[in-house]
Symmetry: none
Subunit: 189 residues, 4 copies
DNA sequence: TATGAATGAGGCTTCATTCAT
DNA sequence: AATGAATGAAGCCTCATTCAT
């Protein structure tokens, strides 16, 4: 039933008809409504579910990082994220864009943008990096969002490139970029 | 009339009713339809218009960069973009998300994601940087998208931070991050 | 299970969901459908049941009236009806309104308005009254319906009065009204 | 458009589809929704309109009664009501049954049973009768509801009689019944 | 025999679009 | 050229009914 998240990925969240979802899921409309109050809740549930998966993966990375260097954890973190992105390209591109969901009536902070949890994991990772002295502390508060932006750029790149290729190939470049930037080493003429 | 782009920013592109736009614009629905074939064209026109502004600003930067260093152009580029972002926070956050637009019938490449032009400007900037040897050439093809991702992170950061502050304050950190990354300089034990 | 007739009284016949009835009755929907062909039959059965009770009560009155005066029977009749009304205020107010039942496909005279039997008892009572000369015969055919209307007015009065009070208190006024009307005795200048 | 109240009369309030109403009214569904928020408001509006007509008629009676006897006003009152009943048999039979309307969420006393106004007119009439000494004062508070019940009995009678006939024929019998009751004059052996 | 999840026809409502004024 | 009431296709959701367990 969850596999109907593909619909969202294909048609967009707001452009998908409940009936199509149910059809793809192989059940009747009514059945969906036996489990979800209304369209909004169905959407929220799908989002939740997908997000939870990623968060779980990230937590496992964090878990198995005990006793290993920050750089190793960072690499694993990137790998996990890129892999997840790979598997859910289209859907993730939507998860990243919580803003376009329906207006969200006032006082309904139920699901944030759907990225709160992911963002939190990134904050933790950054904090450890700073604590261990492997990340500059000056602009540290910006790093989580920059990390998020960088990962999002994978989707952008995917879009603007003729030869998409596996996201995992971005692991090394992204690690390198995040740590040392795009600037050429100066002073080595 | 164009000022009704605020509607999109507030309610999302798909969540905005034509009638509301016309009301906010102070005209009747029929009037809108005298100028735009249908909803899709109205949306496209608004997008176009906003994008054109940014592109124009970026081109001016590029223009006035003749005879100045790449770093100066880069800084101007960032400044122009952040300023634009500042002024159209909400709307830009939507422009950045071309994917959620209507289903897009097959064979209808009319308006791309709305970022094509911006992306092209970034490519040009990166190319110059590489040509002048101030940017690493190894992963150069990724830089435009990373630049885009970085700028998007401004919106993310805005969302997850208690003290938003002017986007322009991000100029220095972002320049620094893009050029040298987040990693602490090593080899200085 | 029958006690779920309260639902009808509370929500109206057409406004009550089968599932709610079954829930209130403490059984599953399927169980109801094991006993009643469909919704319509369930409704008919409930109506029938309630009506049967009243008819039974009225028949007992008629029974025990043998050898007593018409006025005594009339009083008992009123008492029985008002008592019944008292106990099933809400439901009775619906029974009285057979017209709002489902559209009734043509050629489906299955359950009449639910009051046919009651009306018949009233006709009998009126006939006896006329036969014994205690009721005017001029407009006799109207009396059954007037009797019904008078009893219904108990429900109306209940609705429009601040101090509802027991229906039984209406026994004397109603008897008086039915027999002598509302007009002040004339000819006593 | 108002003529679509016939639908209610024919199919019942809850059994009528909005689309049918619009069809009968010769307009599109959307058009109805341009004038009424939703189904409930449409129903309420129709009720209101019909009730207003009757109330208006009753007020005219009351108006023209100045300087005439109570009995004359009473007769006019009956005539007006019966005439109205005649013209809107089916619909009125529904107006009389406000109770079956949708559950009415708590705290929504917007339209009462639709008979409040009519009831008020009856109270006024009765008060005058009592004041002028032509009505007994003992059970006066019950008379308005009895009057209502009596009129309703016209609908009942209509239902249970083979030869319906014009309601106006009930004028004399009802006047007589209301004033002197059904009992045969006693003491005239 | 009781259960209650699944079903899907059908009703209500929205809103992009038209067109007579 | 501007208007905005009318339109009706299309989507959301309900709920009577079925049937495998």
């Amino acid at each position: 039933m969850e596999a109907a998240e593909e619909m969202f990925a294909e048609q967009g969240v707001l452009g998908t008809r409940i009936e199509d979802i149910s059809k793809r899921a192989g059940v009747a409309v009514g059945t969906l409504y036996n489990y979800f109050e209304d369209r909004e809740q169905l959407v929220a549930a799908l989002m939740s579910r997908r997000r939870a998966r990623l968060v779980k993966a990230l937590d496992e990375v964090s878990e198995s990082a005990r006793g290993r260097t920050w750089h190793e954890e960072f690499e694993d973190f990137l790998r996990a994220t890129l892999t997840h992105l790979e598997r859910h390209r289209r859907f993730f591109s939507i998860l990243v864009q919580g803003e376009l969901l329906p207006p969200r009536r006032a006082g309904d902070e139920t699901h944030g943008s759907g990225l709160d949890d992911v963002y939190a994991r990134m904050e933790r990772l950054v904090r450890r990096g700073v604590a261990e002295g492997v990340l500059k502390s000056t602009f540290a508060p910006l790093y989580p969002s920059l990390l998020l932006g960088m990962l999002r750029s994978a989707l952008v790149h995917d879009r603007y490139t003729d030869m998409p290729g596996p996201f995992l190939a971005l692991l090394e470049p992204y690690r390198d970029f995040f740590l040392t930037g795009a600037g050429a080493p100066r002073g080595n003429p």
